[in-house]
Symmetry: C2
Subunit: 542 residues, 2 copies
């Protein structure tokens, strides 16, 4: 028997419509790409988003078409975002930090028909445009006064483009499972993979994000998403903040410590979210100039692990820290490290121990850890296994890729290796492709790297598994020394001894001039594996 | 084009599964019907709910069957709740405060196959049982030691019933639009009407309730729902609290000031929710005994309008107040009066002005006000009209009633008359069937009643519309004087004069010995209309 409740599809544009209707005068403040601070509100954003919808339709964009944005966090990006989704087209946020060839590959794979682009990224696009046959028109996110000469096909300034329509337009209504947005993940191996969000998944994710132990902002809060819209919907904030009527402060192109601080301070921001690199710059700027942020209540930190010292630095200035873990394929929130019973009253180092975990999931994210054969492992805080997840805002497939990516129970393999304790707190141990499989047991490459960089002469360390005739794999520690410093193989191994289980000890140490990185700053282990593919352990000779 | 996200249905039992998995040791504390305080946790509740599912299946209960509960807020009620829904049966919470005949009518209309009943309500059911042919078995929510002799068909003590199965059982998975729960509204006119919630609507409602400006509890909060499970899922708390891992304190049968205070105090409750009557008893108890509640952060108040003096009394003891409005047909949350910009810094009377409104809706509740012809009226805070609502957790029809209850845009008429201001705050003015339609304009019966009871001799006042040859309707004020007090028609009208628009003044005053009430304490205006159906205004003689 079916329930007798209304058939009311969960549609993304109903979020901005709600914000405009109930929180219409709530501000959205942006440091514009052109320079000045710009102020608007949810009512105006809704009105202009409807003009985007109307202009798209006038230009022949249809339900299901892909429209790309290559842009910073600004009010125009937000308008375009809702305008594209509001006619059932798909908002494809392209990461401008990728190598130009990757951007080209992605736009071609998505078959984007139109690109909305910030002034910053015009030069890159002009270089690429000849190789982007699907793109029929470029909209430059600026006004007539700032519009440069450009050879881009049918280029128009955004303000002229939406100025040419009257805004007499109504949102479309359709199935909530309709695709709404698209974001490619840039793995360290293989081609980028397109994650295709639905209206339903984005709305449900926003509702999860609004709960107190996730992002949990209210209509009287102010949120500054440093994390960009092109990183999985700015961790969902582009949906969650308007759904609550939370004031938004958009940082535009300037993400340095001084610029972020200025906005946090002058706009009395209460919540902010971003990666550790940003917070390091902010904390350094604040320490140098002896600054405070009395209005700031919480820093949400994700993207990569937050150093313990950084958590402590924020607590010391009276700011709560929420460590988060997720993936583009998870919309992206997976777990958040809120304090819950029995840990709420912990102080000092014990409190940091909990805050430094990846946290626990909200309702709507189910987790399990398994061994390589798919057998579920216990939640004892010690056993580590492949982390797999299931939920309404988690991918079941990639765009135009036929491979089935779920296991027999419908779980997605995150590629991470983790422990989960009895209270549901998850801790990432390694990436599953990096973990070293030695005699049927797993060794965490990350733990070894973290330990090795503690040696005073070591600038950076990477650990990879090398084939071993007896143990299958054994760890090789690759070290880049600090300039002018020296240390021997034995020095470093002696430093590590006793700090880890004996069978975790690297079988050898290799010294290199430089450790290779990806575009987003992660260690490029594929290149290291390539570099050391003919390497043999001295211990393996026998 | 459809998105590529997982097909993960929103199912109610996944809430208790999440609570058990992530917040398994979080407590659920109950003042039991038998007397003592009982302590359990979410893991045990999930385990026992699975036993309920298993026992129901063993007894032949199938997908879509109705299973009634007539019970207080206790851990056993919560287990039964999730156990019934977990096999796709429908949990029908019956309001034990209804007249026995109404209870009988409702059970027969729902065709309940089984009834789970608290010891308190055994006598009523024994009286009714002969007239309930659909009921095959009665489960008494107690253990062997407390099980009384009873003539009820196939009666068994709950603990014996679930003790007979081993708990080796898995939740069922099915379409999220499947009916999950059922609650009858007891109108003042006509037969009760059955609201049929779906799994989807209950889960979405829980997620809305979890946002900061709604209920917004966290895993480190403790919630005491005084509002019963049989009042629209205890305003959704039976779903929202477990979904967040919030500690639950269940008051069982004792809702007097002293008993509620004791639980709030000893269990360090941070959030509580209930009707004004309960808070009046609590505040009186606290004032008499000079008590405080230092842990209590928020009182959510709904069901009927919260008096201004009560809001102030809570603020004075340092407790935040959230005035809420909703309906059984809305799952039930419609609006909540959180403070938002530009009102966050208001103090004193101006702050009370906002806190006393019915509030603004969360995303997922759309409102409009219309005239009788369905024309949309402006949100100016003055114009009042019929309040209509739309959303994923709002009814589109009643159980076994063929009438279409939505307007052409899919909105449900709440039966309330309200204003909405430009900031989205809604204020209930009247019930639409009670508003007086005079010369094309509307007069609020409630405003007149509130004014009249200010006269020192008036115990209670009711206003009804009486046919008038010229104005269509004009207000008749019906007054019950305080014992031993006297006042004339002219005394009362003179008291009201100047405090309202002249054309709002009642055309006459009628004195009665007693004003009739419904089972839930509301003025029974149908009876008054009946009593005064032959009445003619002196002014209408010409």
């Amino acid at each position: 028997m079916l329930g007798l409740m209304q058939d009311w599809p969960l549609l993304c544009h109903r979020i901005i419509e709600h914000a405009a209707t109930i929180h219409g005068t709530q501000e959205v403040v942006t440091r514009s790409v052109e320079g000045p601070i710009h102020r608007t509100n949810y009512r105006q954003i809704r009105d202009r988003a409807l003009k985007v919808s109307q202009a798209l339709e006038r230009d022949g964009i249809k339900f299901g078409d892909r429209v790309a944005t290559i842009a910073w966090n600004t009010w125009r990006h937000l308008e375009a975002w809702y305008g594209i989704m509001g006619i059932g087209a798909i908002c494809h946020t392209v990461n401008p930090r990728l190598f130009p060839d990757q951007i080209g590959w992605i736009v071609n794979h998505a078959q984007d028909r139109m690109v909305l682009v910030d002034l910053t990224f015009l030069p890159v696009l002009e270089q690429l445009a000849a190789k982007l046959p699907s793109v029929e028109r470029y909209i430059v996110l600026t006004d007539k006064a700032h519009m440069p000469e450009t050879r881009l096909k049918n280029a128009v300034a955004y303000e002229d483009w939406i100025g040419a329509v009257d805004g007499d337009f109504a949102w479309k209504t359709f199935d909530e499972n309709t695709a709404a947005a698209m974001c490619y993940t840039s793995g360290t191996t293989g081609d980028p993979k397109g994650v295709l969000y639905s209206h339903r998944s984005n709305v449900i994710h926003a509702l999860l994000a609004n709960s107190r132990d996730a992002l949990g902002t209210s209509a009287s809060d102010t949120m500054l998403p440093v994390v960009p819209l092109f990183h999985a919907n700015s961790w969902g904030i582009a949906f969650s903040a308007p759904s609550m009527g939370t004031k938004l402060v958009m940082p535009g192109p300037k993400l340095d410590g001084a610029s972020v601080y200025e906005l946090l301070d002058t706009e009395k921001v209460t919540y902010t979210a971003g990666v550790p690199t940003v917070w390091l710059m902010l904390l350094n700027h604040m320490a140098t100039h002896r600054l405070t942020l009395p209005h700031l209540k919480m820093v949400v930190c994700g993207g990569s692990a937050m150093p313990r010292s950084m958590i402590k630095a924020f607590l010391d200035i009276g700011v709560e820290v929420r460590h988060a873990w997720g993936m583009t394929e998870m919309s992206p929130l997976g777990t958040l490290a809120a304090l819950k019973p029995p840990f709420t009253d912990l102080k000092g180092e014990q409190r940091l121990d909990i805050l430094q975990t990846q946290g626990f999931p909200p309702y709507g994210v189910q987790m399990k850890i398994t061994d390589d054969a798919g057998k579920t492992l216990p939640w004892d805080g010690k056993t580590f296994g492949r982390l797999k997840v299931s939920g309404p805002a988690i991918s079941k497939a990639y765009y135009r890729v036929d491979t089935d990516i779920l296991d027999q129970d419908g779980y997605f393999d995150t590629g991470d290796v983790a422990t989960i304790d009895k209270d549901g707190y998850m801790r990432i141990t390694d990436r599953s492709k990096d973990v070293i499989k030695s005699g049927g047991e797993w060794i965490s490459s990350i733990d070894l790297e973290n330990l090795a960089v503690g040696h005073p002469a070591v600038a950076e360390a990477a650990v990879i598994g090398i084939h071993h005739p007896k143990w299958d794999e054994r760890p090789l520690l690759i070290v880049q020394l600090k300039p002018g410093q020296s240390a021997s193989r034995e020095d470093i191994l002696r430093y590590m001894e006793g700090k880890i289980a004996k069978w975790w000890m690297p079988d050898d140490v290799a010294f290199v001039e430089g450790i290779p990185h990806t575009a987003t700053g992660k260690i490029l282990k594929t290149a290291l594996r390539d570099q050391f593919k003919t390497y043999n352990f001295p211990t393996a000779a026998a």
